[in-house]
């Protein structure tokens, strides 16, 4: 496909929970290439949220190495991480996380605002982003005036608007019904075909199967192609 955009080697993250040390991530190594559609699947408590935070540069590794686009995340300060999040990563959350007081257009504009794009270009790019997810006519609506699926599309537009290297989706369909879920997944597939790198985190095998590549995580450890876990997940 292309050069690896994410290189993770021997990543460790532990938490102290009630005096007990929990290995949320235990010696995780993975390479993700540009243009991939990767699904990370795992049950709750498996460490997938920790991995997602790590991939999204919301957290720094305790040991091990994380290179994003050739840059060492472990050596960055908070401000540099904020810039990386702003420019390299687009987040899509389970509960959308739109700012309720801002209109759809303003929500999409937000990442551009923080990267200092001038007003006119910001507006144009945000409108273009909304157009991509088919919500151009809802630009002035508040999130509360939109349906769940529409809100998630706005969130996708927000994630895309800064032209990030990777799209990071954490249970993007978790709060949606199955019909809307399919629509959202379709949007993501289209985006992947347009060349966006997408990392999808889920506990739902059916959704994970939509991706080109699947890895599973359990007890803080990764296994390629879902391994034997896929069998366990057949019940979903």
């Amino acid at each position: 496909m292309g050069k690896p955009i994410i290189q993770i080697s021997n990543l460790m993250k532990t938490y102290k929970l009630g005096g007990e040390t929990v290995h949320a991530l235990n010696d995780v190594s993975i390479e993700i290439e540009q243009g991939e559609f990767l699904a990370i699947i795992g049950p709750s408590g498996s460490g997938k949220s920790t991995l997602m935070n790590m991939l999204g540069c919301l957290d720094r590794p305790q040991s091990g190495k994380y290179l994003l686009d050739g840059k060492d995340i472990g050596k960055m300060n908070d401000n540099q991480l904020a810039t990386i999040r702003n420019q390299k990563i687009g987040f899509i959350f389970q509960n959308f996380n739109l700012l309720t007081k801002l209109s759809a257009l303003e929500n999409v504009e937000l990442p551009l605002l923080y990267s200092g794009v001038p007003v006119k270009e910001r507006r144009e790019r945000a409108l273009e982003g909304l157009n991509k997810v088919g919500l151009k006519d809802r630009a002035g609506h508040l999130p509360t005036q939109l349906s769940g699926g529409q809100q998630q599309r706005v969130a996708i537009a927000r994630a895309l608007v800064g032209n990030p290297a990777i799209l990071l989706a954490d249970e993007p369909t978790g709060a949606l019904d199955s019909k809307t879920s399919k629509e959202i997944l379709l949007v993501m597939k289209e985006l992947n075909e347009l060349g966006h790198t997408i990392i999808l985190i889920t506990h739902d095998l059916e959704i994970a199967k939509q991706a080109n590549r699947m890895v599973s995580i359990q007890d803080g450890q990764l296994q390629e192609n879902g391994g034997e876990l896929v069998g366990d997940f057949a019940i979903y």
Binding site: L58, N79, A82, R85, F91, N97, L110, L113, Y114, R158
Partner: protein, 388 residues
């Protein structure tokens, strides 16, 4: 992110939370306006008292006599006028007289005095002239009347040159006094001033009950007071119980200490309300920041730096406290004006009090807005995002 988009974003956020913004500003408005109203009323009444006392004449000493066993005759009074430091002396006989003009009759307080009275008691004429020393000498039947007396007997006509019947004798009005308003319970406008010699006849007594002395300068008043007391003691040995010498400065000092205490007290009460307003701001700010933890998390996740978050909350706090303070100033000044017209109180707005109360509330608002925002901006975005 630049300053301008930050300001726009802060304004949007204020507009988006109208109730919260209004509540925050309410604390400021109440605090600032109550300080302004209370202090300006206190200062207004202090000014009022001072100007009323000054209306009685400046650098004034008064000799009052009690009973009739003290003969304050003109030659002894002229000895007082020779004292160093005394600028002018004005002896006074007073009483109440019946005044008649056509069918209008009224009781008016009569003052018989000399030409110096005009300067000593700060009694200026608005039309005509004051009494002269020649009038005293020739026992002229002329009168200078107060503004109220003039309107009682002459209405809107010009009284100068017209005649009044005082105790049955016809007097020519030669002047009308400038209105002074009432001070210390005495109406300064319902009076008739006649030459001393004529006045003594009208009240049927030669006793001079009061002498006003004007000192040359304010700094010398204590010295002049001593001089006058010593002179009186030598003129009337062993009769010190029959007269008293009072210095107007003493009265002024007493009154100003009273009004100072009042200003302090009202200012203190107002400061408490400002403090309570400040605590109100603090509470609302704390609540609003913790209520917005998730918002901060989202903003940080999509690339807001600590500085961006802080700046947004700082601008919001400054705008809220600033606008609240300005509304408070307007409310305070407006209510002060209303109070002064409705209750007839004098209010005096002091710029320093307005500026100080505004700055205080602004600083309280900013500190208590930024303090929790600073905490929130340091939050790990993961935790902030999980916050519900």
């Amino acid at each position: 992110m630049g300053i301008l988009p930050s300001i726009k974003m802060a304004l949007k956020s204020i507009k988006g939370n109208k109730l919260r913004s209004a509540l925050t500003m309410l604390g400021m408005v109440i605090g600032v306006s109550s300080v302004i109203i209370l202090v300006s009323i206190a200062q207004g009444s202090a000014q009022n008292v001072t100007s009323q006392i000054n209306n009685l004449g400046t650098n004034l000493l008064t000799i009052n006599t009690f009973g009739t066993d003290l003969a304050l005759t003109e030659d002894k009074i002229s000895e007082l006028s020779k004292l160093n430091g005394v600028k002018a002396v004005s002896p006074v006989v007073s009483g109440r007289v019946n005044v008649k003009k056509d069918r209008t009759t009224s009781q008016v307080s009569l003052t018989g005095t000399n030409a110096a009275y005009s300067t000593v008691r700060d009694a200026k004429v608005s039309s005509g002239r004051f009494i002269t020393d020649l009038d005293l000498e020739y026992r002229q039947k002329i009168a200078v009347i107060g503004a109220d007396t003039a309107s009682t007997f002459f209405g809107t006509d010009n009284p100068v040159g017209q005649y009044l019947q005082i105790e049955g004798t016809s007097f020519k009005v030669v002047g009308v006094l400038v209105s002074k308003g009432s001070s210390m319970g005495q109406s300064g406008d319902n009076v008739i001033i006649v030459p001393l010699s004529t006045g003594q006849r009208l009240v049927k007594s030669t006793t001079i009950n009061q002498v006003y002395l004007q000192g040359k300068s304010q700094e010398q008043m204590d010295f002049v007071m001593n001089e006058v007391e010593m002179k009186m003691a030598s003129l009337y040995p062993s009769k010190s119980d029959s007269y008293s010498v009072t210095n107007q400065q003493d009265l002024m000092d007493t009154m100003s200490s009273v009004t100072d205490t009042m200003t302090m007290m009202l200012g203190g009460i107002a400061s408490i309300s400002l403090l309570v307003g400040g605590i109100g701001i603090m509470n609302i700010m704390l609540v609003s920041v913790s209520e917005r933890t998730k918002e901060i998390g989202i903003r940080k996740a999509i690339g807001a730096k600590r500085r961006d978050v802080l700046l947004q909350f700082l601008i919001e706090a400054v705008v809220l406290s600033g606008v609240g303070g300005i509304i408070g100033i307007l409310t305070g000044v407006g209510l002060g004006k209303i109070v002064s017209t409705l209750a007839g109180l004098t209010v005096s707005f002091s710029t320093s009090v307005i500026v100080l109360s505004f700055l205080f509330s602004l600083i309280v608002g900013v500190i208590f807005g930024v303090f929790p925002a600073n905490k929130a901006s340091k939050l790990n975005p993961i935790q902030a995002l999980r916050y519900e």
